[in-house]
Every structure is written in C-alpha cells, then in structure tokens.
C-alpha cells in the first residue's frame, strides 16, 4: 500500500475538467452536462467461487476521456495487482454467446415432409447497451492507495464519515448527484471503501486504445452483491444493467428480488426477423411491467462447454482466464498450436472429450430505478444446472406449388398459424395486433383469406 503525499496534484488538475454527473450501475460516471452523455446500459461480469470474486465493469463512455470518472464502492482494500484492465472483445463475445436468439425453420414441401433447422445468431443485439492529502486528512478522508493501471488513474478511498468524503469529492471536481451523501455514508458504515477511477491521458495515448477498456478487480469477500444504489440517486428514469456471472456449480439468482425467466420458445411471425432488436426491447419492457418493474430477468443459463443453437461459440479457456475465471487453466499458455479464438459460430456445439470447463454462465438483465429497486442486488449461486436460453422461432411457410391433399390442408392451416403467431407477438410485446397483421414483408402467406368455416374441412372428400 502506498500512502499519498499531500497535496495530490493530479486530482486538482482533474477537478478543472470534471463537471456533471451521470448515473450508472454501481457508481456514477461523471461527465459534462452539455455533452448529453448518458450510459443507457451497463455490463458487469461477476466471476465467483467461494468468496473469491472477480468483477469486470464495462462502460460505454464515448465522450472526451478527460470527462470520465467512476466511483464504485468495494468491500475490501485493493492492492495494485488486484486491479486489471480487461479486453472488451471478450465481453462482446460473452454478450454474443449469451444473447437471446432467433431460430428459423423452413417448412418442407408438405407433400414430402422433412424438417431442418438453421440457427440465426443475434450477435450483440443490444449493442447500444454495453455499455489532496492534508485537506483529505482534515476531512477524514484517507487516500489508501493510488495506482495507474492501463489508461486509468485509480484511488482507493476510505473515510470516517460521508460528509467529509462528499466534500472531498466535490472539492476535487466530482459533482455528486444530490442525495449521494447518505448513500456514501451507508456504504462507509458497512465497511466499504471507494474505488475511484479516471483516465490518465498520457497512458491512454501510449496504450493506443480509442475506447476505454473494462476495469477489473479481484477480491475476496462474503458479499456476493452488486452496489446499484449510487446509480439510482439522481436517476433520470430506469437504467439497464446486464450481469453475467461465471460460476462453478450452477445458475445464479438474486435473493432479495424475484429472478424471472423471460418467455422463450415461442413461434413468432416471420416478419419479426427484420425487427428482432425492436421486438426484444419491447418484449423486455412488457415483461418487466407485468412484474411491476420489480424483477430481475434470466436471459441465459448454460454450461459454458456448449450451446444449441449457438449465437456465438463458447468462450475459450484463454478468454475465460481474461475474465478472471481463476479455476480454469489456459491450455494455450506456453503450448504452441492452434489457439482457440472467436470464429464464426457453429450452428450447435456439444462438449467434446476433455473439454469440460466447469463453468456455468448466467445472464441477468435488470431494469432498475430507486423506487422499485431500493436496495443493492444480492446474489446466490444455486445448484441448478438446467439450461435456459431466450430463443424465438420463425417458421417460414412452404411456397412451392406442389399439389396433393396434404398441401391443401397445409395451406388451409396457414392463416390460422399466422394469426396465432401474430397474437403471440402482440401478447409478448404489447404491440397492436392490427399493426402486426399488417406486416407481410418476407413471408407473404399463401393468400391470407377469410377464415374458412370449421365444417369446410370436416369431410374433405366432399
């Protein structure tokens, strides 16, 4: 641990640049008000086994890096080696692997029926959703350590009481949202410290990275939780958060909020293909409303060894190590040979011999605000290894002109099928059914005619 001499100049320099505050998941990003930068969504990866935890925080901050700052409560002091700068590509891969997916089936000639399947990855469909010493002492604030990690300057702060910390942060240019003081105080009394990060421009220039990379911290704590309260202090509406957990035993769920599986496996109108992202957002919103905006949604729960259908290939051991999955060995380390990487996904992938990775991935999606999520998210690992995925099915009708009795029955059944698919979609999303019925692009049904009276097909021979 390195104690900081006073006064600590870089902070004063930053203070000239940091201005207004934008809320985000466990901390808040600080940015100028006029830049209108807002983190619509955050992504967090939690790797946990026993008390050992590796937390990766992704920010989708796109503005001037001098305007970026992050304040996150952490349960323990962190040594320099416990902090790391991650690789965004791995998180993008994890996002793609766990993303809700569309599956397409093509109806065969009804006169010669065989089914086959094509997986359509929905890769990254929520792409927009990633994501001074003496004075300090007099305020009761201790700068426990200061590190430069990658492009970030990082401080670990502790404080005797929140007012001092609030003053110190304000004096150093962090314009806190109104009402942040009591929340800071609550974390301090719970024995937590604050992890404060901002961008070191020199280091960023040296690193050659345009975008800010994810910050990772490794620590040991009984607290299997995610602090979200700072992010809701000045919330301008609900925020989106994706939590990916990588564990050994099974699925992860929240213990103080309901974890609900998203509806899955439905047949939807073929026209949904062109608006899958739109559909998914609408469906999520509708389901959240039905749970009174108080639930956490399960989007994916799967053994990391395989997938079916695959939206992206499972993560390689090397990628898992990068995310902090400390119990997985990287077989490519020091061993020449074809290393696993991100390749085009196979339609489906089964575990091969010797591939067992002992990693279970859970993807949770939360839309939260202070009224509906008053307390931080608390998690537990369950023994449930049941696979779950958000999977939506498109069935393309057969458009051939074959004539046979089965084909007549098939064609007669299509309008009913389309109507049912439209109703399913309307029910899931809350969209107007008439609008859905109006979409015909891509799947022009064989004349969507007046519904036939039920007795027309009663004695088909006539």
């Amino acid at each position: 641990m390195r104690r900081i001499p006073v006064p600590w100049l870089p902070i004063l320099w930053v203070s000239l640049l940091l201005a207004d505050t934008a809320a985000a998941f466990c901390g808040f990003y600080v940015a100028k008000a006029d830049t209108q930068l807002w983190n619509e969504a955050s992504q967090v990866v939690l790797v946990r086994d026993g008390d050992r935890t590796v937390l990766t925080m992704v920010n989708d901050f796109k503005g001037d890096p001098t305007e970026f700052a992050l304040v996150v409560p952490v349960p323990t002091f962190l040594e320099r080696e416990q902090i790391h700068v991650g690789d965004m590509a791995v998180i993008d891969h994890l996002d793609a692997y766990t993303a809700p997916r569309l599956v397409e089936y093509f109806d065969e000639d009804p006169c010669r029926r065989v089914d086959y399947e094509l997986g359509v990855p929905s890769a990254n469909m929520m792409a927009a959703a990633p994501s001074g010493g003496a004075r300090a002492k007099s305020l009761g604030v201790t700068i426990e350590a200061s590190y430069t990690v990658g492009e970030y300057d990082i401080l670990i702060l502790s404080a005797k009481e929140s007012a001092g910390l609030e003053t110190w942060l304000l004096e150093n240019g962090y314009k806190l949202p109104e009402g942040a003081g009591p929340v800071l105080g609550s974390y301090l009394k719970q024995g937590m410290r604050f992890f404060v990060a901002k961008v070191n421009l020199e280091e960023q220039a040296k690193s050659g990275f345009q975008n800010l990379r994810p910050l990772q911290i490794a620590f040991e704590s009984k607290k299997f939780m995610l602090p979200i309260r700072l992010g809701t202090v000045n919330a301008k509406g609900a925020q989106e958060l994706f939590v990916y957990t990588l564990t050994r035993t099974g699925r992860v769920e929240t213990t103080n909020y309901r974890t609900v599986r998203l509806p899955t496996g439905m047949d939807l109108p073929v026209a949904t293909k062109e608006r899958f992202g739109e559909f998914y957002k609408a469906m999520f919103g509708e389901q959240a409303r039905r749970e009174n905006d108080e639930a956490v949604f399960l989007e994916y729960a799967w053994d990391m060894n395989w997938c079916d259908p695959c939206a992206a290939d499972p993560l390689s051991p090397k990628e898992l190590r990068k995310l902090g999955v400390f119990w997985v060995d990287d077989p490519t380390a020091g061993a020449p040979g074809p290393g696993p990487g991100i390749v085009a996904p196979s339609p489906r992938r089964r575990p091969g011999p010797g591939q067992a990775r002992d990693v279970f991935v859970t993807r949770l999606h939360v839309r939260y605000d202070r009224d509906h999520f008053p307390e931080d998210l608390r998690f537990q690992e369950t023994g449930d290894r049941t696979n779950f995925q958000g999977r939506y099915v498109l069935r393309h009708p057969w458009k051939g002109s074959t004539q046979c009795k089965q084909a007549d029955t098939y064609r007669a059944g299509l309008p009913g099928r389309f109507e049912k698919e439209a109703q399913t979609l309307a029910n899931l999303t809350g969209w107007a059914i008439d609008e859905i019925r109006g979409w015909t692009g891509g799947s022009k049904p064989a004349e969507v005619s007046e519904p036939q009276p039920w007795w027309k097909r009663l004695w088909p021979e006539g």
């Binding site: 009394k189 974890t259 749970e291 009174n292 008053p374 537990q380």
Partner: protein, 281 residues
C-alpha cells in the same frame, strides 16, 4: 377435528399460488418425491414406536419443504424429506422432538450438498398480505397457540432491520423491502411457529424467538449468508428442551382436546377467510 387440516389448507393454497401465480419452479417430480418419502418415513417411524399413523403431520412438513427447498435431483428432495421426518423419531429429548422437521431437513441438505438451495427472493414482495393473513388465520384457529413466537420473531427482526437502516442512514424503503422477503415470512408463519418444537412456556418462547431473530439477523446481514434464519433456528433448537426443563408449561397436542375446543373461536369461517386470501389470483 384435527386442527392441522387448516394448516394443510393454508400451506396447500400457498403452494398452489406459488406455482400458478408466481411460476415458482416447483418441479412436480420433486414435490412427489418429498411427499411420498415423508409419508413413508412417518409410517415407518410410527410403526417402530408402536404409535398410530397419521398422514397430516408428514404432509405439513412435506409442503413446507416444497415451498422453501429447491434441489437439483429428485433424490435430494426425497433425502430432505427422510431427514426431516427421521429427525422427529431419532433426535428426541424431554419426551418429544425438538428440531422443526422441515428446518432440519433443509439445513442439513444445504450444508451437505451443493445441489440444494432456498430461493428466498422468488416469492417476490407482494406476498406480505397473503402470507400474513394465511398465517394469522391459522393462529386464530389454533387459539393463538404459538403466535407469540411469530410476532416476537418478526418484531425483533423488523426492529433490527429498521435500527440498522437508522444507523446506516438508509431510507425506510430498504428495511421495508427486506422485511417483505417471502422466505422470511414463510419461515415466521409456518416454521418457527411449530407448536411441537417451540418452548412450552410463553416467556421461554419469546426468549427463543429473540435468540433466533438475533442470530439469524447476524448471519444474513453480518455474515452475508442468505437464509440465515433457517440456520439460526437449527442452531437454537437444542435450547428448547433446556428451556422446557427450566420453565415448564403445558404440552401442545394437535388433536383437539377439550381445552382447545373450548377456546377455538369459530374455526369454520376464519379458515375459509385465510384460505381465500391465499388462493391463486
């Protein structure tokens, strides 16, 4: 008439509501394994002790297990039921069992297997009223036999939650949210209130509730152990025979004695009331 029929109805309604209204992941096969193993173990135990068999007791235990315990395999579900009912016959002191059977089954399984867990959050936060009414309805029927334990536990727990919030400077929404945890309320109304495994004298019961609440709270909010109250009850159960020796009181019997019948205030309509509120919406 055995008063447990009302307990069965209340628990049955809650399970039904959980499955239909809340989509709780209660696997039918696991439920079946729990009920059959519990009833079979009870039958064996009764035979061993030369006592008449009655299915209502093991079914009450089985329903409590079904509501709280989640397992990865049906074998674990059956194991929990065997442990729960088995503890009634094997772990006895002062002429009775002292572990709440369902609590014993759940805690032993949680400690022994990674494939068992309690989904505390799955009941959501709209359950307070339904549960309170179902539980309160039961108490009236039982002529408030053991409601003192529940209220002492809940008041202590609530006091600790609000006290903690006051100390932390948190808004009241936080302790209020924490108090509405489904598993906590099921525990308070259907587990710690078990008349057979709580002390016989009222002062002893209140003291017992305070110990369980204090220890459970420390486990949940100090040690970050979800479901700390279950462990606290397990750890405090051996105190029951000691407290009974120190502060003797009347032994509770489920079968209606004259005393119970005399004090039971109109069980019919009240039972219907509690069940109606807990029924699926």
């Amino acid at each position: 008439m055995d008063l447990r029929i009302f307990q069965l109805l209340a628990l049955g309604s809650l399970v039904t509501w959980g499955v239909l209204g809340l989509d709780l992941e209660i696997v039918p096969l696991h439920g079946l394994a729990i009920v059959t193993s519990a009833v079979a173990t009870e039958a064996l135990g009764r035979r061993w002790r030369g006592e008449p068999f009655d299915a209502s007791s093991p079914i009450v235990t089985a329903l409590s297990l079904t509501m709280l315990l989640r397992v990865a395999h049906p074998g674990l579900a059956a194991g929990a039921a065997v442990l729960a009912i088995g503890s009634k016959f094997l772990l006895r002191a002062g002429g009775g069992h002292f572990f709440n059977p369902a609590n014993f089954g759940i805690v032993v399984l949680l400690l022994a297997s990674e494939g068992a867990w309690v989904s505390a959050g799955q009941w959501g936060h709209a359950v307070l009223l339904g549960l309170a009414m179902a539980g309160a309805g039961q108490f009236v029927i039982h002529r408030a036999a053991r409601s003192d334990v529940t209220w002492a536990f809940l008041l202590t727990w609530a006091g600790l939650l609000f006290g903690r919030a006051l100390w932390l400077g948190d808004p009241w929404a936080i302790p209020w949210h924490q108090l509405q945890n489904g598993a906590l309320l099921i525990f308070a109304f259907f587990m710690i209130s078990d008349p057979r495994t709580t002390p016989r004298a009222r002062p002893a019961r209140v003291a017992f509730a305070l110990v369980v609440a204090g220890l459970g709270f420390a486990l949940v909010y100090g040690a970050y152990l979800p479901n700390g109250m279950l462990y606290a009850l397990f750890a405090a159960a051996p105190l029951v025979p000691l407290l009974d020796r120190w502060l003797p009181g009347p032994v509770f019997h489920w079968a209606p004695t004259k005393e119970v019948a005399d004090h039971a205030p109109h069980p019919g309509p009240l039972a219907a009331h509690s069940v109606g509120l807990a029924a699926p919406r």
